[in-house]
């Protein structure tokens, strides 16, 4: 029943918005920040899932494109005074120093610059496959980081940028996350999405059917870079401070963790895992502090909580190779089959 599903979807969105509104009113800044961080991770994990899960390209370049988006958006929104304060070692290029754009425009510009970087990196790199592709994208991501570190007059180098306007409010980040989820849902069900999956399943067969495999790969990689750029920009406007070190491989690893946990090729999987992992990252923070286990005491082991995530990842690889959701989605017809919804008379149709 199509209308029923539409109504249910609308209802779910309304309930979620209500929960967000209540949370925004009642929860403290710390809790809200974690909640909003998960929205940003939704955007980022979907960006990585698009290439890894839907197109079958093992890319590890996420952090580099995030950096591009974050820097572009930050530089376009900071006021001239803040810029002057930031760039005390070497002044910012004058054309940029006086330029201040509205946030929405800057966010899109950040995405487009990241997409451009993705296009430039993708064209040579996407001729590679599997682990070679992973290494090459990882390398390019580090190159982007090093370039940013050394462009003192444009990015303020290793000092990073401070006092970035805090535009990433609850409604902004969740609004963008919802848009990205909707975009991904439409994309993967379109005939273009089918092409992506065909390339993932069998490149030679796709090519033999007349699919332009290389173009499909480059397009997917570019769209993914755009989303990574937007996610990076949101992150910058949330933390209000960015520096090149932030965009190291560890950041990509966190996103990869979410994608693998949630299920390669599942949008709902990525959304659930984003929230789960972000909340756990904070909830498990006590592990890094000194622990009192009755029999012995530890003096604080920074990084112990990452061990939990590594263990989770291993458990997934051994017990549930395809992640929480595999490549399935949570759908209303799926709920109906599981008996959680009353059966519609005409039977399920998506």
């Amino acid at each position: 029943m199509k209308t029923r599903n539409t109504v249910l979807t609308g209802l779910a969105i309304a309930i979620f918005a209500l929960v967000l509104w209540l949370a925004d009113k009642n929860l403290g800044g710390y809790a809200m920040r974690i909640l909003n961080l998960s929205a940003i991770y939704v955007v980022l994990s979907l960006s990585l899932n698009l290439v890894n899960g839907f197109t079958g390209l093992f890319s590890l370049g996420c952090a580099g494109f995030m950096a591009v988006g974050a820097y572009v958006s930050a530089l376009l929104t900071m006021s001239p005074e803040v810029k002057e304060m930031n760039f005390f070692l070497e002044p910012l290029a004058p054309w940029l120093a006086r330029l201040t754009l509205p946030f929405a425009l800057a966010l899109v510009a950040g995405g487009f610059c990241a997409a451009l970087a993705g296009l430039v990196v993708g064209i040579p790199v996407l001729r590679l496959k599997d682990d070679y592709l992973a290494i090459a994208t990882l390398g390019f991501s580090e190159i982007i980081r090093v370039v940013i570190t050394n462009l003192q007059g444009l990015t303020n180098g290793a000092q990073g940028l401070k006092n970035i306007p805090k535009f990433s409010t609850t409604w902004t980040v969740w609004g963008v996350a919802a848009l990205v989820v909707a975009f991904m849902a439409l994309l993967t069900r379109s005939s273009y999405g089918r092409q992506l999956k065909a390339v993932r399943d069998d490149e030679i067969a796709a090519e033999a059917m007349g699919v332009n495999v290389f173009r499909v790969k480059v397009t997917s990689f570019t769209i993914s870079s755009f989303l990574a750029g937007v996610g990076g920009a949101l992150l910058g406007h949330m933390i209000t401070t960015i520096d090149p070190k932030m965009f190291s491989f560890m950041l990509t690893f966190n996103i990869l963790l979410i994608v693998v946990l949630g299920g390669n090729g599942s949008i709902t999987g990525s959304v659930i895992a984003s929230i789960l992992v972000t909340v756990l990252m904070e909830a498990l923070r006590f592990l890094d502090e000194p622990l009192n286990l009755f029999f012995f005491k530890t003096n604080g082991l920074p990084g112990l909580r990452m061990v939990v995530f590594s263990a989770m990842l291993m458990a997934v690889v051994i017990l549930r190779q395809r992640g929480l959701m595999g490549d399935q989605e949570l759908t209303w017809s799926g709920f109906e089959k599981a008996g959680l919804l009353p059966r519609s008379k005409k039977g399920a149709s998506k």
Binding site: R194, K197, A198, D201, I204, A205, A208, M209, G210, V211
Partner: protein
């Protein structure tokens, strides 16, 4: 009509095709038989533009296919059913068929072709919503053929359609090949199963280490001593 002249292909230092010439007349079934590594699959891949040729020419209805991207070759009416079936395992049967027709704009004709595929292979109709990876080998081969039909080909090229299938399924696939041909599609068939291929084909070529060594009508080749000895395993 497809005409190949003096086609040659190199893989690194290996001269895989050393001047192959063959013709596929319209409306016929032509088969290319030969042992492992003779260059059968290479010939098909060269025609469809999946690999680069290093010499010779391929012309399709008088037009040269040299240097054309695979996409355009498929649009001009040639399609390849690749060796080992290669269906899109995580897509449903229906989606696999849609991918065959992805470049076509004529929506109603696409649906008519889909109905035609389901008529040829009723088994696929039963399993429309199922993931292609969960089908049996024979069903996957049917799907691979069906997917190719969805491009509405004038020339259907098949690479080892009988590979790894039960004898009964092989017979069925060959019956379908003849049926598709009877409906007006030209077929170029590559096979190791020389007997079945030559029985079905109007015309046959024998390929050995990159060269055509024998050619003739299907039945005629079937009776040829050299073919019987080398490919049909008959003691003479």
């Amino acid at each position: 009509m497809l005409k190949i002249e003096n086609l040659s292909v190199h893989y690194g230092g290996i001269h895989a095709l050393q001047g192959v010439s063959l013709e596929v007349p319209e409306g016929k079934i032509v088969t290319l038989i030969g042992a492992n590594g003779a260059g059968k699959s290479t010939t098909l891949k060269a025609i469809i533009g999946l690999i680069k040729t290093s010499g010779g020419s391929v012309s399709w209805n008088g037009k040269s296919l040299a240097g054309m991207p695979t996409k355009d070759i498929v649009e001009s009416g040639i399609v390849l059913v690749p060796e080992g079936r290669r269906v899109f395992a995580n897509l449903s049967v229906d989606e696999n068929l849609s991918l065959g027709a992805y470049a076509r704009k004529d929506k109603s004709a696409v649906e008519a072709d889909r109905a035609r595929v389901f008529k040829l292979f009723p088994r696929l109709d039963d399993r429309k919503k199922q993931k292609a990876g969960t089908l049996s080998g024979g069903e996957q081969q049917m799907l691979a053929v069906g997917r190719a039909i969805m491009t509405r080909p004038k020339l259907l090229m098949m690479d080892e359609p009988s590979l790894g299938l039960a004898p009964l399924v092989v017979k069925m696939i060959f019956d379908i090949i003849k049926e598709i041909n009877a409906e007006g599609t030209t077929i170029l068939l590559v096979e190791q199963n020389a007997k079945a291929a030559l029985m079905a084909a109007h015309f046959g070529y024998v390929l050995e280490t990159g060269r055509i060594t024998l050619e003739g009508e299907g039945r005629q080749l079937l009776a040829d001593d050299r073919v019987r000895k080398a490919y049909l395993g008959e003691a003479l």
